[in-house]
Symmetry: C2
Subunit: 339 residues, 2 copies
């Protein structure tokens, strides 16, 4: 693995440094070629680094900043008042080339807005998007975009999402000619918004892209498409609905205080015997995976869940490292020329 | 229970009469005060009634018609060519007052379009909607609308959906002052389409309605709101995603050919010990419940899943009967005046 420095906004998320700092240490332990610049309140950060080994501390640089973009700030307010915030400073360090990628669990709209201004979209990309892996019930993975960056999308936007998604799936999932589907409310060609039907026409005309048709919400987990394309509103609703359903159903397997003795044992036995399926279930659990990538920018930026735990935030850091080492933005730029 | 006659389009759905006729017989067996008029191809219907008892046959009337609205027909084509189809004839019998409600598993857009033309929206309702019950993880129920009838909605449309949903929840779930939430991609007031934010403002101003704020996809099963309001596109995506996730996860509990001897036993044990939770899971299974109501019309119309099995289609028939006996359209009309 090549040496790499990433910039972290450690103030974002529901908890802040108490999650992001232990996660940073974990990520550094897992990746000896990684260095991190931590942007945030040094008074909160320093005590959390007390028990760190010297070899980890050598790869950490803390950049103090006292202001934070809040989750409830509107995009225009947040951008106007972004100067000196942990999120903006982290992105600026990527802009200056001091870091090769950025992670934040903060305000998604502000992260996308600032990234577009500071890092800029790749040439030819009208709208960067949020993309994430989703697992299938058979243990494979698909990618899905947009997950909330663009709530209204034209047919051309959706077409570009399909191209970016295909390149992401090729690099991230090691696929050749990935199947592309459009999220819609039916599989018949008359269904859905005009923009979706027009996007379907554009995709059908492209032989370089493996378009397989409309995909309904009920088969999101079934691997009908490797790349599921949607506007950011429907995509966000679908992903969160999926996560909520899985989280609720997984709660079945967890010990409950009011369960009798047999129940935890049975739940354990169930997990053991249905190991493969349970592993697949675990993979879909939002607490076990994390990180949506802002795709279509000149650098790698990953948005962590606001509610990410230590493992999940560490996973998001590893994800940025992987994409940066894979030179994903360069691959997308090359791919755009191909299609 | 009062005597009631319902009109059935028995040709709709993926299977047609082989599902809808046994379902009709089942519904009649369960409801001795119910009579049915079956609209469809008598050559397909008659053999399926061969083993019926006389007491059931007395409450069945078959109206032969040879043409059917196909699922892949666009709304304008379907409406232009609807004359003499099983769906249209069924709705016309409601229009003439021969039946007090209608069930079809056919083309949803055509059913909504024809219902609006033949049965007409209630006075003051701009857009009838599709509404359905969804279970919560605690064994309760919520209602959700619109599920696909209106893919683009104004703030006023969403506001009316909230009113209709509240009245539906009062009648159907026996609730007082039901909690109303708007489906959105975040809980902060700056999130989502302008129409949703405007609808939130309208709902906040109404003290007669118990508006609780934005609801994200991940808490759809958690009873945060009794009435979940959305445009038809996002609502359809959310409902189907929920159904797909549950159907996939429930497949865990089913016997598989390649499972060893212990697995079916363990699955059975699991079901037995986690009985209450499993019952709740079963309730959310789309194969166990069925039927979305067209709400805001002058008569009760229920759209069954195209893939409904016999039990599910029979459930949709019972649902129409319940709503017709409850005089739901009249309750909504009275409620509209109240708010």
């Amino acid at each position: 693995m090549t040496r790499l420095t990433l910039a972290l906004d450690v103030m974002g998320g529901d908890i802040g440094p108490r999650i992001t700092i232990p996660a940073s240490i974990l990520a550094l332990e897992n990746d000896p070629e990684l260095s991190l610049i931590l942007f945030g309140d040094s008074q909160q950060i320093s005590p959390l680094l007390n028990n760190c080994s010297q070899s980890i501390l050598e790869r950490i640089q803390v950049q103090h900043c006292s202001s934070v973009i809040e989750n409830n700030q509107g995009i225009s307010y947040a951008l106007r008042h972004s100067k000196g915030t942990s999120m903006r400073l982290a992105l600026e360090s990527v802009q200056r080339g001091e870091a090769q990628g950025c992670v934040s669990a903060g305000n998604t709209a502000a992260l996308m807005g600032l990234s577009k201004i500071l890092l800029q979209p790749l040439q030819g990309i009208a709208r960067p998007a949020l993309i994430s892996l989703i697992p299938t019930i058979d243990g494979e993975k698909s990618v899905m975009l947009d997950l909330g960056a663009n709530i209204e999308c034209s047919a051309e936007n959706l077409y570009q999402f399909a191209i970016m998604g295909a390149i992401f799936a090729e690099a991230r999932l090691n696929l050749v000619y990935p199947k592309i589907g459009l999220l819609n409310i039916g599989i018949e060609e008359i269904k859905g918004h005009q923009s979706i039907r027009d996007a379907a026409n554009l995709l059908q005309k492209s032989t370089a892209l493996n378009y397989v048709g409309f995909i309904e919400g009920d088969v999101l987990l079934n691997g009908k498409a490797d790349v599921i394309v949607s506007d950011g509103f429907a995509g966000n609703i679908a992903l969160k609905t999926l996560e909520g359903a899985v989280r609720n159903l997984l709660s079945l397997f967890k010990d409950k205080a009011n369960l009798r003795f047999i129940k935890p044992i049975l739940a354990w036995l169930f997990r053991f015997v249905f190991k493969q399926r349970y592993k697949c279930l675990k993979r879909i659990n939002p607490d076990e995976y994390n990180g949506a990538s802002l795709i279509g920018l000149k650098a790698v930026v990953v948005k962590s869940h606001g509610s990410a735990n230590v493992n999940a935030f560490a996973h998001a850091i590893a994800d940025v490292a992987f994409q940066a080492r894979q030179q994903l933005p360069e691959k997308i730029l090359a791919g755009l020329a191909r299609y």
